[in-house]
Each structure stands twice: as structure tokens, then as C-alpha cells.
Symmetry: D2
Subunit: 142 residues, 4 copies
Amino acid sequence: MSEIPGLDGVLGVEHVELTADKVVARFTIGDQHLQPFGIPHGGIYCSVHESTASVAGQIWLGTKGVVVGTNNSTDFLRQAKVGDTITTTATPIHRGRSQQLWHLDSHDQDGRLVAQGQVRLANLDRELPAEAVAQFTGVPVP
Amino acid sequence: MSEIPGLDGVLGVEHVELTADKVVARFTIGDQHLQPFGIPHGGIYCSVHESTASVAGQIWLGTKGVVVGTNNSTDFLRQAKVGDTITTTATPIHRGRSQQLWHLDSHDQDGRLVAQGQVRLANLDRELPAEAVAQFTGVPVP
Amino acid sequence: MSEIPGLDGVLGVEHVELTADKVVARFTIGDQHLQPFGIPHGGIYCSVHESTASVAGQIWLGTKGVVVGTNNSTDFLRQAKVGDTITTTATPIHRGRSQQLWHLDSHDQDGRLVAQGQVRLANLDRELPAEAVAQFTGVPVP
Amino acid sequence: MSEIPGLDGVLGVEHVELTADKVVARFTIGDQHLQPFGIPHGGIYCSVHESTASVAGQIWLGTKGVVVGTNNSTDFLRQAKVGDTITTTATPIHRGRSQQLWHLDSHDQDGRLVAQGQVRLANLDRELPAEAVAQFTGVPVP
């Protein structure tokens, strides 16, 4: 089991690119991602979309507030299989004072779109220490 | 770790009521459900909604086809905490020949609505053995 | 053409019940609601859902702020026809300090669910004169 | 009032680019698009998104079936005003045997994103005469 705590650790999600304008996560489909028919459980894509968008939104917001998810809408487009490596990319649709909207794309190792969707975040008006931001996002806040 | 295989086992989700018109699932929030700030990861609710709706849709469809999720839209309404028991209920909005739409509500042990949403399923035109339906849904097909 | 200004007038939408917990609107499908195949244009249901939820949210918020729509997700479940009378009901899912989420159901005259969905509103922090609220909602603010 | 019948005519929507991979529509915001506060009614964007995606999906499908909308999810990102010209572009996310998913972007004359969303279509298995496709889409089917 991963050193990463919480759900991302359980799912084996790693963030491989971390900027304010784009965050990329990656994971490999294993037995813990399946539903009873032995195919990937849709909740996997929702979960990775949620954390990738949240990290992206928090990097952008920095210490000025705390992001929390308010809606996650994910479309399942193609069935992946155990062993496939999924790359999830978050890009901004809208970043406002009180809300953010991020687009998410999940492709397999052959570049096929497996899932896509969007995550809506609320920016809570609560100052956050730079260390907390760094811990959440994996990016040191300068 | 649970005897239940796959993601539902990892997340500790149990289905406590299983009928063609209503499926109820339950889980208790633990460390494996958190995001890095130590609060429940939104993907948890998406995942439970996805499996609860899928089981419900498959019970309704029986051996006449295979349900697959096409969209999951989940709203996060209230922050729960470790130790809270979440009860998720799937009820049908629409059950047609080729698609189903299920409504999902997740309440905490005090009856407060924590998350809600809907899952859209496609009914794939592929006959399914009764044992496979029973294994997926936990309900013997007569 | 209706006395009601703007899109609601063009579409012939009337609000027939107006309370803080439930708003009901009604319209009859005519030629102006069709798409080129001669069936109702889905945008009609989106539009009625949008205004019904907005009026409901503004009644609830009163003079304390201004509601604006941020997302409208509408599902089209059954095809209606010219002459059908559609009744749209808005009920609250969540009403918070900064956001509201309303559920919408549209039934035909025989009680069949034709469309359903939800509208998300932001509560803008801008005081509104009681007369403006009354003009928007059709309900005098006491 | 426009020569275009139905809702698109009422709203003054014109399709200015029509291909199987991209459809572009345009309209200018007028009094008939407003809600009671005098700002554009969100249902306008939903409606234009709906017809733009439907035309695009029907061009792609041709005579092999009939598209009908099953879901429209639209996000309102920026407030436009009377006189603004809105350009709506539909591009495909997914085009499968039984369903299509289209992305929609609506920009104002200064290139600012005003609304965005997606429309899900079902491909009904019903042969359509080439003339009906041409009439619906505005594109002669070869």
C-alpha cells in the first residue's frame, strides 16, 4: 500500500505534474479499482478527477482560501482493463473569486479518452498557512 | 479488509436493502476515505452512488442485459467526519429500454443530507446468466 | 404575445404557486417551443427550470442578496406534443449562505414525468430593494 | 421575427458553420432573451447549446438514425448584455453507436467565455429520409 495517506493512497494515484494551470495525475488499474463484474468501477475516475481538480484549484488559490468540491460530473466513455495506465489532466474552465470550474480528461496509455468530466470547487474564505497548502498540493508555496 | 472484492470492499460499502425499486448501501467513514486535509474525499460519495445505482439498475434489468454507467453527477452538500455512518439510497427517476437514470441521496446517522446526485446507466443488449446477475447484485434471480 | 417581458413571456410561462419552499410554473406547448422535427425543443425545459428555480431561490433569499444561475442540468425523459400542458415544480435540495441547489420536475397533464433536473444558484452579496424582489418573484416582500 | 420556425426562430439563432465535426451558431442578445432583472436568461444558452449539438449530432449520424437530447448541462460563467453577439461552438467528446456527447462553448464578440456545457444525445434506431436530415441540419446529405 502506498505511502500517500487517504483515498489517493488506497487508489494509488500519483500527481506527476503540478502547476496552477494544469495538474496531471496517473494510476494503474488494479484489482482494488474493479466492480463485481471485474471491470473498472466508475467511482475510480470520479475520485481521481476530484483530487486532481482539488489540487489544481488549491495551487491556483494558494494561501488565500480553501477549496472544497461542490459538484463532480464524470462521463464514462470507454472501458479500460487491469494493467492499463490512466493519465488524468485538469485544466481550468473558470477561476473566479468564489468558485472554480475545472475540466478533467482521463486517457489510457494509448491516448484513448476513457473518461471526462468537470469538478466545481467553492473557494472558502479562510486563510491557509503556506505549509498546509504545500502539504495538500505537493507544491511549495513561495 | 473486507471480504467484498474490488472497490466496494476497499471502501467498506455494504448493501443493506436490495429491491428493484430501491437499493440502500451503508459505510462508515474511516481514514481510507479522506483527502489530504483530513476530511472525506468527494470521490467516496461518487463511488458509493455509482455502485448503489448500478446494483439497483441491474436488479431491475435482471438477465435481459448488462448495465454500465455512462454519467455520474454528485453534489457535495455537507462535510462529514471520521466515524460518521453514511446511508446511501438509490431510487429510480427513469427506467427505459436503453437507459436508466437513478437518484442518489446520502445521509449521515443524524439524517442530514451529506451528498446527492444521479447516475445514468446504459442497458447493454447482452444476455446475462442468472448466476452472474445474482453475483453482481447479491440478489438471487428467480 | 404575453404581457410578461423577456424569455418567460416569449415562452408563455406563468408561475402559479410562489412560496419560499416551492414554486410551480405552467405553460402549454405551442409552435414556438418546437425544434425543426416538430417536437418540443429541449431548451424549453431548461429555460422553465432555470426561471422557476431562480424565482424560488430569490423568494427564499429575499432582500439579502441576488441569485444568479451557475449551472443548469436538465434530463429529457419523455416526448411531449403541441397542446400538452407542462407543470414545473421547484423544490430545494440545499440552501446555503453562498449557494442554493434546486430540484426541478416537469410533468404533463397526465402526471407523466417529461423532464427533470437541477439548477445551482449563487447568492451574490448585494442588497436588493424589496420592490426589486417583488418585481422579480411576483411575491410582495413583507 | 425570423423565417426560422420554432424556438430557434424565436431566439434568432443562426447556424453559421455546419460540418460533422463542428457546428457554429450565432445570435445577438435582445429583449426576448432577458429574465426579469434585465440580464440574459440562462435558458438561452441551454437552448442554443441544445440545438447546436443536435444539429451537429444529426449531421454526423446522417440518415442512419434520429438524434434526441437526453441531458443538457450548461454552466453560466459571465454575464452578457443586450447587443452582445454570442458565438456557440459544438465539438464532439464522444460519438458512439447509441449515444453521442458534445461539448459546447459560448463566447461573446470579445472572445470571452460566457457559458459552456455538454449535451448528451441518444441515436434512435430509425431510418431518416435524406431530405429530413437536410431540413433539420441545413446540410444536404449527399
